[in-house]
Symmetry: C2
Subunit: 244 residues, 2 copies
C-alpha cells in the first residue's frame, strides 16, 4: 500500500483542543477535505492547502473525493468535527475503501462532544455511559427509542447528540418522556452545553422535568446523569463509584 488517507477528528472547534498528532497530519497534507463548516474552522491556518468540500448529506461524494485526490498522488486528510470515529466519516471511508485496495485508511482520534461538553458541565460521564444520537436521518426512530429505553433501564449516564433540528424540534422532549416512562425520575440531574469549544459556549444544569421544556438546537449536546448524579456548586457530577 503506497497511499494513506487520514480521517482526522479535529475536536470541538477551537484549535487548542486538537491533538498535536492531528495538527501535524493536517500540516503535512496537500489536500484537506471536509464539510464547509468544519473547513471554515481551520481555513485560515491551512490557507496554503487545497481545501475541498461538499455540502451536507453529500458525505459519500466527500469520501470519494479523497480517494480521487489520493489517486493523483496527493497526501489527503479528511476532517470531521469531534472524533472522526464517533458519528464521523471513518466508517464510511473504511466501507468505500474496499474499492481502493491500494489505499490505506488511518483514523486519527479527536475530542468528541461527550468529552468536551462533559468537561464544561463538570463530570457527568464519570461512570458507565451511553452516547445516543436523536437524528433519525440514517436510523429508524424505533431503534433510537429502543436505545433510550435500554439506557434508562441500565441506569447509564447519557450524552445525547443531535438533540434537535428545525425538522425535529420536539425530539428531545419525546426522548425525555420515554426516559421518564422507563424509570428516570423527574428530579434526575441533567445538563446541556451549546457551542462547545467555540464562541458563545453556554452550559446549563437542570432537572429532567426542566429538560423536557428546554430549547436546544443542533449545536447543543445534552447530558443526563445516572440515578446517583448530583448538581454540586452548579456542576453536573456523576460519581466514580457506588456506595458498596
Amino acid at each position: 500500500m503506497s497511499k494513506c488517507i487520514y480521517v482526522v477528528g479535529i475536536g470541538p472547534g477551537s484549535g487548542d483542543m486538537m491533538t498535536e498528532q492531528a495538527k501535524e497530519i493536517l500540516e503535512e497534507s496537500d489536500v484537506i477535505v471536509g464539510y464547509t463548516v468544519y473547513l471554515d474552522l481551520i481555513r485560515e491556518q491551512y490557507a496554503g492547502k487545497e481545501l475541498l468540500s461538499t455540502p451536507m448529506r453529500q458525505e459519500e461524494k466527500r469520501c470519494l473525493l479523497c480517494f480521487e485526490k489520493a489517486g493523483e498522488g496527493k497526501q489527503v486528510a479528511l476532517v470531521c468535527s469531534g472524533d472522526a470515529g464517533i458519528y464521523g466519516l471513518a466508517s464510511l471511508m473504511l466501507e468505500l475503501g474496499k474499492g481502493y485496495p491500494d489505499c490505506e485508511i488511518q483514523v486519527i482520534p479527536g475530542i468528541t462532544a461527550a468529552s468536551s461538553g462533559a468537561a464544561v458541565l463538570g463530570a457527568p460521564l464519570n461512570h458507565d455511559f451511553c452516547v445516543i444520537s436523536l437524528s433519525d436521518l440514517l436510523t429508524p426512530w424505533e431503534q433510537i427509542e429502543k436505545r433510550l429505553i435500554a439506557a434508562a433501564e441500565g441506569d447509564f449516564a447519557m450524552a445525547i447528540y443531535n438533540p434537535s433540528s428545525r425538522k425535529r424540534a420536539d425530539y428531545l422532549a419525546r426522548a425525555c418522556r420515554i426516559l421518564m416512562d422507563h424509570g428516570v425520575e423527574p428530579e434526575r440531574a441533567c445538563g446541556y452545553v451549546e457551542n462547545i469549544g467555540r464562541e458563545g459556549t453556554r452550559a446549563v444544569t437542570l432537572t429532567m422535568k426542566e429538560l423536557v421544556r428546554a430549547e436546544v438546537n443542533m449545536f447543543t449536546t445534552v447530558f443526563i446523569g445516572n440515578s446517583e448524579s448530583e448538581i454540586i456548586g452548579g456542576k453536573l457530577v456523576t460519581k466514580r463509584g457506588y456506595r458498596i
Copy 2:
C-alpha cells in the same frame, strides 16, 4: 475565586495525543499531581516542576494534595490518563471541592481509550455506543451485569474498560457470556487493543465466540460491535446508519 485547579486528561500516553490546551496548562503549572504511572509518561518533559504522586487506590489523598498545594498559592494540575472525566478524578475533585469554596475546579478533556482504541481498530463506535467498566472495585457486579444486559438489548456498540486484572481474570469471559445470553450472536464482530498510544500497541479483530477465550489484561480495551458491525479488511467497522 482566586485559585483554579485543573484536572487534565492527558490521553492514552504518547505526547502527540494530548491537546494543545492540556500541554499549555501543564507548562504553566507549578505542581503536577498524578498516579505514578501517568507521571512517568510526562516526567521528562516537565522535569522542572514539582511532581507529586500517591499510590493506586489513594485517589482521595491525591485529590486532597491538590487542594493543599493550591492553598499554598501554587498553580496545580492533576493529571489523569485518557479523559479526566471518564473514570478519571474529575468527579471526586468536584465532590471534595465542596470543602474548598475558594477553589475553582476546571476539567480539561483528553482522548479517552474509547476514541483512541477505536481509531486503531477502525471505526467500531461509529454509531450509538456504551462505555462500561468491568471493575467491581467501586461498583457492585450486579450493576455491571445489569448494564451489560441493557447494552445488549439496546443493540449498542460497546467499549469495555478494565476487562481484566490479576484478581478478575475471568471477568471478560463472564461479560461475554452475559451478552450472548441476551442476544449478542457468537459471530458478532469484536476487537481489542492493547497498550493504546504506547509502545507495543496491538490490535486484534475477532468474533464474540473467540473473545470469550481471549487473553486480555488491564492495559486492554475491548470493543464489541452492534448487530450490523463488520470486519472489513481487518478493521472493525460499525456503520453510520441503518438501511431504512
